[in-house]
């Protein structure tokens, strides 16, 4: 064990002192996590509340039972941005990797493909809608269940 001392300077900024070194570190609490900078590296720790809510719940009832690597039944936004195009509607049959959504962020276009073969259960976005990172865009009913 060794002793280190934290010397707070102002909110979000402090010094870390041990017997041979004094180093600054910075932190910030956001809605979901603690961010930390120390020695040129950044770290993040989810807060307990966020940790619980972000636990992904299992897919549909009995979904993919027995599969080693079940295909996802959800398409979520991999980046914050605008939905440019919705290429399929509720009830449509889709195949794995079929383009479903075209998104745009920071003038970069990205096509989102279906994570599974099956039917579109519900559509959670529309064209020109601004979406957040991780927001649910399409709920699928995978083929095994359909």
């Amino acid at each position: 064990m060794r002793d280190v001392t934290i010397i707070p300077l102002q909110p979000g900024e402090a010094l870390l002192q041990d017997d041979h070194q004094v180093r600054p570190f910075y932190w910030r609490r956001t809605a979901s996590q603690i961010l930390l900078w120390l020695g040129g590296k950044q770290y993040a720790m989810p807060l307990p509340e966020a940790g619980q809510s972000s636990q992904p719940t299992a897919g549909g009832r009995g979904a993919n039972r027995g599969h080693a690597a079940p295909a996802s039944d959800k398409l979520t936004a991999p980046m914050p941005g605008t939905v440019l195009k919705v290429l399929a509607g509720p009830g449509d049959s889709v195949t794995h990797n079929q383009p479903l959504i075209v998104m745009e962020s920071m003038k970069m276009e990205l096509t989102l493909n279906s994570p599974a073969t099956g039917k579109i259960a519900t559509l959670h976005c529309q064209e020109n809608q601004l979406v957040a990172l991780g927001e649910l865009l399409v709920q699928l009913t995978p083929e095994a269940e359909a």
Partner: protein, 519 residues
């Protein structure tokens, strides 16, 4: 000389131009849209005027509104920066018509070089080597495009005719993927440049991207300010640039410089521009395109030539002669630029947003930072994800490299996921240190894959304790925590009364692979 210069841009480039304008004793005028009312370029400018609205077309791309501001506020000249209206010949013409100097080449040159197909034909005629397998099929129907692609052989590249900066660019490996890629590239081109026209090009494997800075005055004096090596890219977007280019022989440098000047003369170029070349593994070089504007990576040229390119641009636009000849220009030392992007390297470089809660750029000898952001600023989806350009100068490549590695480790950013660690990883790669760059460097060396997590170290346990401490703030006054120095060697178990998350592995670190003092 002009009295008042309007900068028709935003972000870091607007800030950089404002600095030179003010250093020259001239009045710097900024414009801004509804998202940018208090942006850094607005805070720096002597005068700032609103372009009401949020879309680019009604604001930074609104030539009419910008020119009417010029008239209203007695602006002499417009500096367009890069992007937006910088390579828009129609805008340059409208400036001339309105009696406002456009700081850049003539509208005819912009339009000739803006049409990438016509540019290649012109260069070919002028004896400048062009990329093999090029076919001009600008407005051809899909069937023709497919035939052309088959003819030159896959992979092919789809590029925006009015483009640059990787926007609207797509690599296509199979005929089946051509149609979708063509349409997506076209939509992206329409969005970014207001012109949906795209074209095909043969894709060269393992190419290097080396470009030459050119300057020409209105009296026909044309020089180059040496090269910039821009091969380190991800998704066709440059992220690390340096000058001089490593592993480029003096002989090839001279040949390419001459070709760049020859290209500039062939088109009657004036003001600052960049001639981009692809250099093959065999040392053959091919004309890629001319960017008729200031480049993002211009600072590295400024550092090795000790010239202010924006000042020279303004002087040339005001009718001054170049203050030097080719033989008076030298490359001194070595400069490297790293582009700091708001993106997550662990999530396939997806753009990230947030608030810059902490933003403490490094300072010190030989370090320059060009940015449009300040601490507390929000990073939104509305603009390009580039946060800043970190530029260093050293007496040789090795010292510049070490300085950049040092500076990246000093840069404090909290609140927005960015690529600082990723840049450090690239710079630390042995192949980069040897200067073995090419445009597929990142994927070839697996650098686009997340870094392997290092095991528990003294530092990681300390971090664990600090995260836990921070979670329990606010508190004032000195406090003491005790952190275990390492895992129990007998059991491999780590125990810490401070951290309930430790056992669950609930924290996510971005590990430092090399150079850590405590690693």
């Amino acid at each position: 000389m002009f009295n008042k210069i309007l900068i028709a841009n935003r972000g870091e480039i607007a800030c950089r131009i404002i600095q030179t304008v003010q250093e020259m004793g001239l009045v710097a005028v900024a414009v801004y849209n509804d998202h940018d009312e208090t942006a850094r370029h607005v805070r720096l400018a002597d005068e700032a005027y609103a372009l009401p609205g949020t879309s680019l077309s009604e604001t930074y791309l609104n030539a009419k509104a910008i020119l009417s501001l010029c008239k209203e506020h007695q602006v002499d000249a417009i500096h367009p920066g890069y992007g937006f209206l910088s390579e828009n010949a129609g805008f340059a013409r409208a400036c001339a018509k309105a009696g406002v100097a456009f700081i850049g080449p003539s509208p005819d040159v912009i339009s000739a070089m803006g049409d990438k197909i016509a540019a290649r034909n012109l260069m070919h005629q002028a004896g400048v080597p062009i990329v093999p397998g090029w076919h001009g099929a600008a407005d051809a129907p899909l069937a023709t495009i497919q035939r052309e692609a088959e003819h030159m052989g896959y992979p092919v590249l789809i590029k925006a005719t009015a483009g640059g900066g990787g926007k609207g660019m797509r690599r296509v490996d199979t005929p089946e993927a051509l149609k979708d890629a063509w349409e997506a590239a076209s939509r992206e081109a329409q969005k970014a440049f207001g012109n949906a026209q795209v074209f095909l090009e043969k894709y060269i494997i393992k190419p290097r991207h080396i470009e030459f800075q050119i300057l020409a005055d209105n009296d026909g004096n044309t020089v180059h300010l040496f090269e910039r090596e821009c091969s380190i890219q991800r998704r066709y977007q440059k992220i690390i640039e340096e000058s001089p280019a490593p592993n480029l022989s003096a002989e090839l440098r001279e040949k390419m410089g001459e070709a760049a000047v020859q290209a500039a003369r062939a088109m009657g170029y004036t003001n600052a521009g960049t001639v981009e070349f692809i250099v093959g593994a065999d040392g053959g070089f091919y004309f890629l395109e001319v960017n008729t504007r200031l480049q993002v990576e211009h600072p590295i040229t400024e550092l090795v030539t000790q010239q202010d390119l924006v000042r020279l641009q303004i002087q040339i636009a005001a009718g001054h002669r170049l203050p030097f000849t080719q033989t008076e220009l030298t490359q001194s030392g070595h400069a490297i630029e790293c582009r700091l992007y708001a993106e997550d390297p662990a999530q396939n470089f997806m753009p990230a947003t947030g608030t810059l809660h902490q933003w403490l750029p490094p300072t010190g000898s030989g370090i320059r930072l060009d940015t449009g952001y300040q601490s507390g600023d929000a990073v939104t989806v509305h603009f390009d994800p580039m946060l800043a350009k970190l530029i260093v100068w050293g007496s040789d490549r090795d010292s510049a490299l070490r300085k950049m590695q040092w500076a990246l480790r000093q840069f404090v950013v909290l609140g927005v996921t960015q690529n600082l660690d990723f840049l450090h990883r690239v710079l630390s790669h042995p192949a980069f240190q040897e200067g073995l760059t090419h445009t597929h460097f990142i994927p070839e060396h697996g650098l686009d894959q997340p870094a392997e997590a290092t095991g528990e170290t003294e530092e990681s346990i300390l971090v664990e304790a600090l995260l836990q401490w921070a979670a329990e703030q606010p508190a004032n006054g000195a406090q003491s925590v005790t952190a275990p120095t390492a895992a129990d060697p007998a059991t491999g178990q780590i125990s810490s009364p401070l951290s309930p998350w430790l056992a669950a592995g609930g924290w996510r670190g971005t590990p430092l692979s090399e150079g850590g003092r405590h690693a």
